[in-house]
């Protein structure tokens, strides 16, 4: 009997372990099912059920618009008018292109590059006036401009930010703002105080470090100045 009891006890112990194992198995199954469901549902929820193909597809053309058989000639005439209008906007003369991402300046005529130079453009940095509620962001403006004034031996009338940057008080008189050295031998003004000019810091050419103006080395500045009369279009990107 004692042995029988012992056997039952052992048997009872094995039964509990098996039940526990079954529970664990069920928990595992439930977890796997949950994971599988989540795995299937996630793409639906997140919009990941996209199909990706090389583009454009070679199968079939897109029908976005239709013309009746009598309209093509009218459409051709309209296409030519639009194309002429687009060409009319393009410069037939020398123009300057400034790539701020590469700090490169090009003088071009049509597609031909007449001159290429390393320049420096805006740093994109922020300067706050510690005494007043004002701040400046030193970006080179992007877009379309024209050279509206050219100057030899240009004099820089220093704006307020130049003094704030140096940690000096902003002077009241124009005479104290005159700076005859900083801009180099030539300047091409293109609006709102921005210009293409020389630099005292030639070692920084090719870097984005200016207050928004475009700086060139001495020889490059002279050549660009010669190639760019008043009215020269400037494209900055």
């Amino acid at each position: 009997m004692k042995q029988g009891v012992r056997l039952r006890l052992v048997s009872s112990g094995n039964g509990s372990s098996a039940a526990s194992g079954r529970r664990s198995a069920w928990v595992l199954v439930v977890w796997l099912a949950a994971l599988l469901t989540a795995g299937l549902a996630l793409p639906v929820v997140t919009g990941a059920l996209y199909h990706y193909d090389p583009f454009p597809s070679e199968t079939g053309s897109r029908k976005e618009a239709t013309l009746s058989e009598t309209e093509p000639e009218q459409a051709l005439s309209e296409a030519l008018r639009l194309e002429r209008a687009l060409h009319a906007l393009q410069p037939g003369r020398n123009h300057i292109v400034v790539d701020t991402s590469q700090n490169q300046l090009y003088v071009k005529k049509g597609d031909q590059i007449l001159y290429q130079a390393v320049c420096s453009t805006g740093s994109g940095m922020l300067l706050r006036d510690p005494h007043q509620e004002r701040q400046w962001i030193f970006d080179t403006p992007r877009g379309f401009f024209r050279v509206f004034r050219r100057a030899v031996n240009p004099i820089w009338t220093k704006p307020d930010w130049a003094f704030v940057e140096e940690g000096k008080p902003v002077p009241g008189s124009l005479a104290e703002r005159r700076d005859e050295d900083t801009l180099g031998d030539y300047a091409l003004y293109f609006g709102d105080g921005y210009m293409i000019h020389g630099t005292l810091y030639q070692r920084y050419l090719g870097r984005s470090i200016t207050h928004g103006c475009i700086r060139l080395g001495d020889e490059d500045l002279e050549r660009v100045f010669q190639l760019s009369p008043v009215g020269t279009p400037i494209y900055i990107f």
Binding site: Y52, F55, K63, E64, A79, R142, F144, G167, Y201, I209
Partner: protein, 196 residues
């Protein structure tokens, strides 16, 4: 002027050929595209022309090509049922920047040149860009050097991209990604050349 005339001449020939081939749909698309580009050119805004067949992304201003980025690959992602907008290729899109640019601040009183960023800061660029454009277009640009399995999975799942819209996946040379990142203007316009 000579170049402009030459280009106009070649366009006339191409357009005439199109007419002779008798596909009014292509001509309609050409008119639509020329009209959209002229509008952007007159507005004097920077815009990109995406030519998926020619595999180029071209930055233009007033009709002048400023920079051409060769595309190493172009992939189109569309919902399984197709794009919500079947005319999505005919739209002009506008790039929406997610947040304002983080600016490094200068300290007043520094000697000239002291605030110059280290050289590597000039070239620091994320290896992929996600350009969210309205209406309903997301363009993910990835550098050639980031051609990894995990990048591929990430581009396909794109958990951060809105549902329903069209997703384009462009792969560019590393240098071009850097240039694109640094030159991308806010609210830049994007249009597609006709595809047929």
């Amino acid at each position: 002027m000579t170049r402009a005339r030459a280009e106009l001449g070649s366009f006339l020939i191409a357009a005439s050929l199109t007419l002779q081939e008798g596909d009014p749909n292509q001509l309609a698309q050409q008119v639509r595209f020329a009209s959209q580009e002229l509008e952007l050119a007159k507005a004097e805004v920077l815009y990109y022309v995406l030519d998926v067949r020619g595999r180029t992304l071209t930055l233009k201003l007033r009709g002048v090509e400023l920079r051409r980025f060769p595309l190493l690959s172009v992939e189109l992602g569309a919902p399984l049922g197709g794009p919500e907008d079947p005319d999505w290729l005919a739209r002009v899109y506008e790039f929406q920047r997610d947040s304002s640019t983080q600016r490094q601040e200068m300290k007043p009183g520094q000697a000239p040149g002291e605030h110059v960023l280290p050289a590597d800061a000039d070239t620091a660029t994320p290896s992929s860009l996600t350009l969210r454009c309205q209406p309903g277009l997301t363009i993910r640009v990835r550098a050639e050097s980031e051609r990894t399995f995990s990048a591929s999975i990430s581009d396909r799942w794109a958990l951060d991209e809105p549902m329903g819209g069209v997703r384009l996946r462009l792969r560019l040379a590393d240098e071009d990604v850097r240039s694109l990142y640094r030159s991308l203007p806010d609210k830049a316009k994007i249009l597609f050349t006709p595809v047929w």
